[in-house]
């Protein structure tokens, strides 16, 4: 009798086990990512693979490293890389210097002021990049708004060269990328426990000392996050430097465009693209290591 019961019990257990998954067994949570993954595979990864493949082709059939050799041996393209890095670095630093006080103000000001500041940051952020770049062209050209005002005030006689040079690139890119910096800094700053500031004050530190020794170190995750974001976006910039910049010092995306549109050299353009991609990932990889250290606190 007990033996029979045991078997019966076992059978019901087995039945229960089978019952659970039946009917729903096909579905798994990870399947939710299938549609976007498919989309990316077809429209992003596959073209990228093609570009990668193309970068190894040449006039003759068969694979070659000729394009890469040309890129890294030519002083012209090394200069393009140097220019790209210089511009990106300056843009990042200026964004940080301009953005840090704004983000700080947003954390300490009253709700009203903070709200106004947020709107002021977000409106340009939501405006099309192209629209903003053209707006800067109208402002900065030789007979543009800025030069005309300065002339009518009698401050200058000849128009200042505000665009078609690196200055133009800086003005345009900093304006466009500044919100990214501010929006990266703000949540980190907002998350700093106000009691830490008060604690520092009770321990005898003045406001300035507290800011430098407590607030700034604790805002570093935001600084690195914003800087990486702005820098990585900068090195791939195309529209703003090509519209506001000159023809002398071009950035890497412009070099790609020249190869595609003017010289029809697709393999070489592909090679430059892959170099740009590699640099971008290299920076992200390095920054991940830096960020890892900062995650500790």
């Amino acid at each position: 009798m007990p033996r029979d019961m045991e078997i019966a019990l076992k059978n019901t257990k087995v039945a229960q086990k089978e019952k659970e998954p039946r009917g729903r067994s096909f579905f798994r949570p990870w399947m939710l990512i299938l549609p976007p993954a498919a989309f990316f595979a077809v429209f992003f990864i596959w073209p990228l693979v093609q570009i990668l493949a193309m970068s190894f082709t040449g006039p003759q059939s068969g694979l070659t490293l000729a394009s890469y050799a040309k890129f890294f041996s030519s002083p012209v393209y090394l200069k393009v890389i140097a220019t790209t890095f210089r511009i990106s670095l300056v843009v990042t630093l200026v964004c940080l210097v301009l953005g840090y006080p704004v983000a700080y103000a947003m954390t300490v000001c009253s709700k009203r002021v903070c709200c106004l500041l947020t709107i002021a940051v977000l409106i340009p952020f939501w405006t099309s990049l192209l629209v903003r770049t053209y707006a800067w062209m109208i402002l900065l050209q030789s007979n543009g708004v800025v030069n005309n005002i300065l002339k009518s005030l009698g401050l200058i006689r000849q128009p200042l060269p505000l665009m078609h040079n690196e200055l133009g690139i800086y003005i345009g890119m900093i304006h466009i990328l500044l919100p990214y910096m501010i929006l990266s800094l703000y949540p980190v700053m907002k998350g700093i426990n106000r009691d830490l500031i008060l604690a520092s004050r009770t321990l005898g530190a003045k406001k300035g000392y507290t800011f430098l020794h407590v607030f700034v170190p604790l805002s570093m995750p935001g600084v690195s996050c914003g800087s990486i974001l702005v820098f990585v976006m900068s090195i791939g910039y195309y529209i703003t430097p090509s519209l506001l910049g000159g023809t002398k010092d071009i950035m890497i995306s412009q070099a790609i465009q020249v190869q595609v549109n003017k010289l029809m050299n697709w393999p070489f353009a592909s090679a430059i693209s892959i170099v740009l991609l590699a640099f971008t990932y290299g920076i992200l990889y390095l920054s991940k290591k830096v960020m890892h250290v900062q995650k500790l606190w």
Binding site: D195, S200, L203, P217, W297
Partner: protein, 357 residues
């Protein structure tokens, strides 16, 4: 080493709301004052004003006779323990404790000497190179305490210091802070809503209600002679009985009716009129179970509820007139009481305390 603190006619308004209403307190050198009250009573605001985070709207704060009402925080030389410790997460335990000394530009050797000593005192010497997040709540609390004391402040402020600890640890920390207070002799002001904590640590307790002070006294005095019904109910358990005055004799001495039994009004220093109702407080553990031969004040009743709490039984006894009395009797092996049992409660007359409403 410590300091006298005097709060004089302090008012504090936030926009239209009056948070503190005419508060006056004198805190002696070396005293441990705990400000106790329900949330919203203004106790934390008071602490913030002593620390310098807030300025009083009206009135003055004196430390050792100097008006510090408008002195900036960093010049007050006050150590503060925050509710969530407020340890700097980007610094090691050592660096945290060193912070107030670095600010004061103290020579390196002197710093090291002090930090070593204070870390040893809070039993955290081996943790000097750890980061706060690597420590338990109690350890973080002790680091915060070390940091708040290492620079020889004249006052120590504690803002709900135990709120984030579990009960076991809380009791341990209370005793630890009590010891440290005695050892350093530092004037300490603490804020809490935990009455047990107040009674454990404080030399003096200040009970606040709606921005006003209800009573400032030693824990014993507050417990034995609460100033008001609010204080009586806030500290410990209490039977609060409203008693109508039944007769007033020629010298103004009154008799009141306590659950139908006429007794002299406990407070004979004031005068009464016929229609007065006075409130008296009887602590549950002052009430004894007696037999009918008991000569003093006694009430008959029936046990309605009995709760066993280990060392004692908490009873709710329904009296003949329908009212309840809370009674706490200490358990002995021979004690046997059940719900429904008839009991006689004896109340010593000297344990009936008259309080303001």
């Amino acid at each position: 080493m410590g300091a006298r603190i005097k709060l004089q006619n302090i008012d504090k308004n936030y926009k239209q709301t009056k948070v503190i209403k005419n508060v006056n307190i004198d805190i002696r050198d070396g005293e441990f004052l705990t400000i106790l009250g329900p949330s919203g009573a203004g106790k934390t605001t008071l602490l913030k004003m002593i620390a310098g985070f807030e300025e009083p709207t009206k009135g003055h704060i004196f430390i050792n006779g100097n008006d510090v009402s408008r002195t900036p925080i960093h010049k007050r030389n006050i150590g503060m323990l925050f509710q969530n410790y407020a340890l700097f997460p980007h610094m090691t335990v050592y660096k945290n404790v060193e912070y107030p000394l670095s600010v004061r530009k103290m020579p390196k050797e002197e710093r090291k000497k002090r930090i070593t000593a204070i870390l040893k005192r809070v039993r955290l010497s081996e943790y000097a190179s750890r980061y706060p997040r690597e420590l338990s709540g109690g350890q973080q609390q002790r680091v915060a305490l070390a940091r708040a004391l290492v620079f020889d402040p004249i006052i120590l402020l504690l803002d709900e210091p135990m709120a984030a600890l579990d009960k076991q640890l809380r009791k341990q920390m209370q005793l630890e802070i009590k010891d440290i207070h005695r050892e350093f002799g530092i004037t300490t002001v603490s804020v809490t809503h935990d009455q047990e904590e107040a009674l454990t640590m404080a030399t003096d307790v200040c009970i606040m209600r709606d921005g006003r002070i209800e009573q400032v006294a030693t824990p014993t005095e507050i417990y034995e002679k609460p100033a008001s019904v609010f204080c009586a109910k806030f500290i410990g358990e209490a039977n609060v009985v409203p008693c109508p005055v039944v007769s007033v004799d020629r010298d103004g001495k009154a008799k009141i009716s306590l659950h139908g039994i006429t007794v002299p009004a406990p407070d004979q220093t004031r005068s009464y009129s016929e229609n007065d109702v006075v409130n008296v407080v009887i602590r549950p553990e002052k009430i004894n179970l007696v037999d009918d031969s008991y000569g003093g004040l006694k009430f008959h009743g029936k046990i309605e509820q009995s709760v066993y709490v280990g060392d004692a039984l908490k009873l709710r006894v329904r009296l003949g007139n329908g009212h309840h009395m809370k009674v706490k009797v200490f358990t002995t092996s021979s004690l046997s009481l059940d719900v429904g049992d008839e009991v006689t409660l004896g109340v010593p007359e000297e344990d009936i305390v008259q309080v303001k409403p």
